[in-house]
Symmetry: C3
Subunit: 340 residues, 3 copies
Amino acid sequence: MKMTLAEIAVFLGGTVVGADNTVIENIRSIEEANEGDITFIANKKYLKKLKLTKASAVLVPPQTAADGRNLIVVADPYVALGKLLTLFYPLEHGGNGVSPDAYIEEGAVVSPEAVVFPRVFIGKGATIGKGSVVYPGVFVGRNVSIGENSILYANVTVYHSCIIGNGVILHSGVVIGADGFGFASPGKSNIKIPQIGFVQIDDDVEIGANTTVDRATLGKTWIQRNVKIDNLVQIAHNVVIGENSVITAQVGISGSTKLGKSVMVGGQSGMVGHIDIGDNVMIAADSKIHKNIKAGEIVGGKPHMPYKEFLQVEACQAKLPEMRATIKDLVKKVDELLKK
Amino acid sequence: MKMTLAEIAVFLGGTVVGADNTVIENIRSIEEANEGDITFIANKKYLKKLKLTKASAVLVPPQTAADGRNLIVVADPYVALGKLLTLFYPLEHGGNGVSPDAYIEEGAVVSPEAVVFPRVFIGKGATIGKGSVVYPGVFVGRNVSIGENSILYANVTVYHSCIIGNGVILHSGVVIGADGFGFASPGKSNIKIPQIGFVQIDDDVEIGANTTVDRATLGKTWIQRNVKIDNLVQIAHNVVIGENSVITAQVGISGSTKLGKSVMVGGQSGMVGHIDIGDNVMIAADSKIHKNIKAGEIVGGKPHMPYKEFLQVEACQAKLPEMRATIKDLVKKVDELLKK
Amino acid sequence: MKMTLAEIAVFLGGTVVGADNTVIENIRSIEEANEGDITFIANKKYLKKLKLTKASAVLVPPQTAADGRNLIVVADPYVALGKLLTLFYPLEHGGNGVSPDAYIEEGAVVSPEAVVFPRVFIGKGATIGKGSVVYPGVFVGRNVSIGENSILYANVTVYHSCIIGNGVILHSGVVIGADGFGFASPGKSNIKIPQIGFVQIDDDVEIGANTTVDRATLGKTWIQRNVKIDNLVQIAHNVVIGENSVITAQVGISGSTKLGKSVMVGGQSGMVGHIDIGDNVMIAADSKIHKNIKAGEIVGGKPHMPYKEFLQVEACQAKLPEMRATIKDLVKKVDELLKK
């Protein structure tokens, strides 16, 4: 694709600084960009790289000094980057309608406007909406509902009776609806509690590779609209994640815990079961959450505490050997003073 | 299904309090239950919900005040729930014998009483016992043995020569028998040590989605009878897990470590290799185990310590900034005292 | 296979102590070995087991007392074990050329000297080199390049345009090239940034079961020559891992972080994004890395610190309740002294 800076600025709602007839053919990172490329600076701390790039133009935030460069000034360069990438490099899945080499059980309803690759299995009673793409190796269980314009990448598994909305992206290896981990008399007879609930995934959710979302014991495990979940995350039975929340890689959320809207969870964090996390809570990476958190709080640590306290505690931990030595010294001095 | 409370009480070995001709059609959680539903209270701390539920009846532990409700009193409501769920909602896999669309190599022996879905691959020399169910996308390597009444959900992989017992459940994405992580001269030449052992999984084991159990270097990795393992757990080569043990999500167990019987391991914990964990040990979530633990101990922390000590240490950690300030203050005062 | 100790010693470049005409038929661990077996002692702390083994011979390091045993003395018994295992138990994949039951899109180029099992999908423009083995359930996306003598075990997924070198081993459930986790306005509108880069995996890399390596936003995520990665590891977009590095299970590496050569990372560790880890760095298990680390450093802890300091800090943590009590006692005594 070829576009001038003037055309790109119109598309992005930005302003050109420099030669607006410059032609752009590709988008590359600031280190790798060359002539004909546009690049971006999303974070002001990388502004010093502006001088060194060989790019023909740079997407920048307002009030950036041009320094002889061609710029497109936009409110949010990262958002603009996303738009431009979508324009320059539209996602192509290949595939061609519903492959005769997919195995579709009788009684499944697959839109003729869906793309279903070979080697897919779709169970009885399942539905696949128009515009959805189902890659090879995907298993869609009985009575699963998949909306429109969703993408299930290769080797995704969706157990029976789960509900997937519109515009959902499930990356490879994702498992939706496996049994929740429920046993009576744990450690003794380990009597399995059947998990008869389901998983509901609302519109515009994206779930990363090899993440697992277990079906509910009763009722549903529920991932609400526009939630984004990274790779290798564990979501247990009956968890609810509120809309727009963002869960980073390798997080584990135990059974029946509820997250509000716009909750941000850092990587490798863990949460016990049966707690409530309020709207807009932010949880630092590697935190261990053991009880409810009120809306808007920022927390970190194990067990979690307000983030500012957590930073102080962390700072102190490195000083522990020094503190211990000082205490020892104090004990000695005080003993001497007491002897006087 | 419809049953009266009287019939349910006979089935569960419980006692009705209230109208024993009440008809039950469904089982739902205490919040979602309505007329015609039975629900349960497994934990006494939820007894206050008894007043609010709209359920027609509630499974409760002994000595629960009826408060005008229909109750079925049972020794363990959670166990009773499990039995009742199994009765009301029997697991149905669909499928119909051995699909002609499964790829079964010559020399594999599949019981005609097994269910093998399309898109399964079964290698030469493998055996599948009667009553077992093998979902689409499962790979059964050469010379694998799978017993009776086991379930391999979609996209499970079992590498060659592994042994799976009877009544085993492997959830989607489970990988049994991949190579253990063994390299000579690590970080330098990284010479691969072939992993020629296997994995043995005994009867009634259940393994959660995307969990990995590596084959042994020599001999076997061994998951014993009735062990329950959650999602995304890593079991390294030559690990042994004793019967009835319960391993929660995202735990990692390093090579050659042995767990005794009825060991309970909290989520996200880790264990170094070549250690022994005794029978009935309980390990708190997010613990890091660095050496042997004697039978019956309860531990937590990093590195682990007795659980009671761990709670004290955790409590102190939050007080670190205060402790540090106090030390600073003491140093000043003692210095002044010494000057006198 | 049968070999005399004399023949084995020649093969390994070692020296026999004892009866060099002893015939060896199998290799077993020191506990399980019997007559006809050779075993090994890789770590001097297990030398005491030498007396108890029933093995017919033992691979040992130099200066090991024979104690009446047949020994083969080699410079590195673990390396020797690897060589001997490869000789005695050559890896056999079965399979037979390119299966007509594989689904290969037009325009893919598969070497007739590769082994492609049934139920594989290979997209348009992909290439598979000679000697490579592709197991059932593998998805090879469009324009993927796979070199020679690589092994993709069952149910591996490689998204479009990724590059896999020669002699690479990808274990089951590995996902290469899923979208990196990039969203503008996170927690609010969560606008997806298209991930248009790719993953490059160089020669002789091995990646463990269910590990995920995300494609780059722009440019490439790059796993360099001879890197070994264990199971359930998360490698984010634009990460670079330098040659010969070893990454243990359940580690998470955030976006754009660069590891040098021969870096060793202990299990369950985590790294923030956009940092540089120097050559030969060693990171203890469960460390949390928050900033750059210089070449050759050994670190541990959360946040990380030099390993020796970390050990001291850990030791102090267990003493925290005692320290707190001592501080309390000191405060009391000093207050009394000040009153005098």
